[in-house]
């Protein structure tokens, strides 16, 4: 097992470096011109200014040299300077990541806590009203565009009913809790500031629900299908023949087997939530990585884009690794 993990870790690290190469090549061979995107046409029409600016950001060096410089910085934990914010990319990422982690984790918990039981009950009570509800919810979840769903919930709960707070992580006039982890829920508890805690929590409800919608659909669907599959296995028949209670059969025999595919999906879903928050964060003015990504992409801020891509690729690879390990723990047949 440890050998399995180490070899997977090494493979993941190599993949991450290759990932930077890919994004570097994309960044530098596409026709878009970061200089024009940054400076605007006025400044870009002054050749001297242009040359100085290119030299400042190392854009005049040959391609391979720029990549080596990037790698060298990477080894020293330096992801370069963001052209748009003029700050180290790593600082920006550390600054914006907690907001996204908080949002994605809330969305993930919501979709698991609702989706898994809903899928189980739907499978056990197949073709009853609750099964139809589960299927309808998951269909709407996977078929709704996030950006539209966000508009609808804002229009209904914030605009019309006025029972939910508007965009942002806190009330616009409130001060954020002292930064320890950057997660407002955790920091406000650490500071003993309950007012801030409830404020942050209430601001989290709408965006995390919107973010959870499609994941919730997927998890419900997968749980239901996987449960139905397991319910028809021979060992269930044996358990029934032995005279076990149905409740015991479902919780003791069917669930552990049926949940294996759900674990894989859940892990991937969490990775997707962490990175897929672009739309949700943009609409809810959520100061996280998603919004930072979008702004960097729109400004062709390549140091920032490369930094984010690297962080995201590493997150993805790590989560995949965790899935494989949990798989090995759940199903001993996986480790050869």
């Amino acid at each position: 097992m440890p050998r399995y993990i180490v070899s997977r870790l090494v493979a993941a690290a190599i993949m991450a470096v290759f990932a930077t190469l890919v994004i570097f090549l994309i960044a530098n061979t596409v026709p878009g011109d970061p200089v024009r995107a940054q400076l605007g046409d006025m400044a870009a029409s002054n050749p001297e200014f242009l040359a100085a600016w290119r030299a400042k950001w190392g854009l005049d060096l040959p391609l391979w040299e720029r990549y080596l410089l990037f790698l060298k910085g990477l080894v020293h934990g330096d992801l370069g300077i963001s052209i748009a914010s003029q700050r180290p990319v790593l600082d920006d990422i550390v600054n914006y990541a907690p907001a996204t982690i908080e949002l994605a984790t809330a969305g993930f918990l919501l979709s698991v806590v609702v989706g898994v039981p809903l899928g189980i009950v739907a499978a056990v009570r197949r073709d009853t009203w609750i099964d139809h509800v589960a299927r309808f919810v998951s269909l709407i979840g996977v078929s709704s565009p996030t950006f539209w769903l966000a508009f609808i919930v804002l229009a209904v709960f914030y605009g019309e009913l006025q029972i939910a707070p508007g965009p942002g992580r806190l009330d616009p006039i409130a001060f954020p809790p002292d930064r320890v982890t950057g997660l407002f829920l955790v920091d406000s508890v650490l500071a003993g500031n309950w007012e801030s805690f409830w404020d942050a929590l209430s601001h989290l409800v709408l965006p995390s629900t919107v973010l959870a919608a499609s994941t919730l659909g997927l998890i419900t669907r997968t749980t239901r299908a996987s449960m139905l599959e397991s319910l028809q296995q021979d060992y269930v028949r044996v358990a029934r023949a032995k005279g076990l209670k149905e409740r015991r059969i479902v919780t003791g025999h069917v669930l552990p087997n049926a949940l294996i595919p759900v674990v894989t999906l859940g892990g991937l879903a969490y990775a997707n939530l962490l990175t897929g928050a672009v739309m949700t964060e943009t609409i809810f003015s959520w100061p996280g990585l998603g919004r930072y990504t979008f702004r960097s992409a729109a400004a062709l801020d390549f140091p920032a884009i490369m930094g984010i891509t690297l962080v995201v690729a590493v997150t993805y690879l790590l989560i995949n690794l965790l899935i494989d390990i949990s798989y090995a723990l759940l199903d001993p047949r996986v480790v050869r």
Binding site: R126, A155, E246
Partner: protein
Amino acid sequence: MSLAQATAVPVSIAPVASKRRRWWRRYGLASLGATIILAWILIAIFAPVLTSHSPDLVDVTNRLKPPSAANLLGTDALGRDVLTRLLYGSRISLTTGFVVVILAAIFGTLVGGIAAYSRGRIEEIVMRVTDLVLCFPPIILALAIAAALGIGATNTIIAMLVVWWPKFARLARSLIIVQRSQEYVEAAMVVGLSPARILIRHIIPNSVGPLIVLVTLDIGNAIITFAGLSFLGLGVIPPTPEWGSMVSEGRELIEQWWVASFPGLAILSIVVGFNFLGDGIRDWLDPKSRRR
């Protein structure tokens, strides 16, 4: 009622149902999905006949009017008829959905097929490249590429293609590995057919079922993703009518809900259509998964 009671007779044989009921169970949702898709295709083709308004006609004296007899779905901030723009918008969404998924499926299947068929070093390299693309979250990579290439439907389609093919490569590879060991392949080799011919004429047609399912389900995904990129301002150039950008234009207008709500419902309906159809095809191809 407890869990136990509900499952007292879990694996029962389906009760004898009337013919119509059985037909509905088997093909109902799939044909509903096909009908929705067909309706949207017809709307896309006949949009100019279905409405008397022009999609681009700006009329500021008539801006932000709620739904009425003259403008069934109201007007937007520039006084354009929302229904008209919605009908015309189906053209872009359907085209991009089909183009992205079908091109990605063709390319991905060929790549996966070559990998599975050649095995060894080539397979290793091809699949590592596939993994490499898969470890980028699609939306971020597409965002970066679309931003770099510049705004426009074609560029957005290119950006989506870059991130879209690997899943088809993976699926095709696993399907083809299964087929490769079948006897008819051996027979074809003995007869002396070329590897390319065996792959394209014999193996791919035999493993095409699950690919068709993925294509159908995925067109809905592609439509949502394109609309999303459009929503972020990277899809179409205004004033082209497109659902994602229509939602974006109406996102601040909470009072004038009709501007953003209806284009979103249009996306929802078409994606539901593709989901129904895809699930239906899967049940049809794989009776084991029926009624899941």
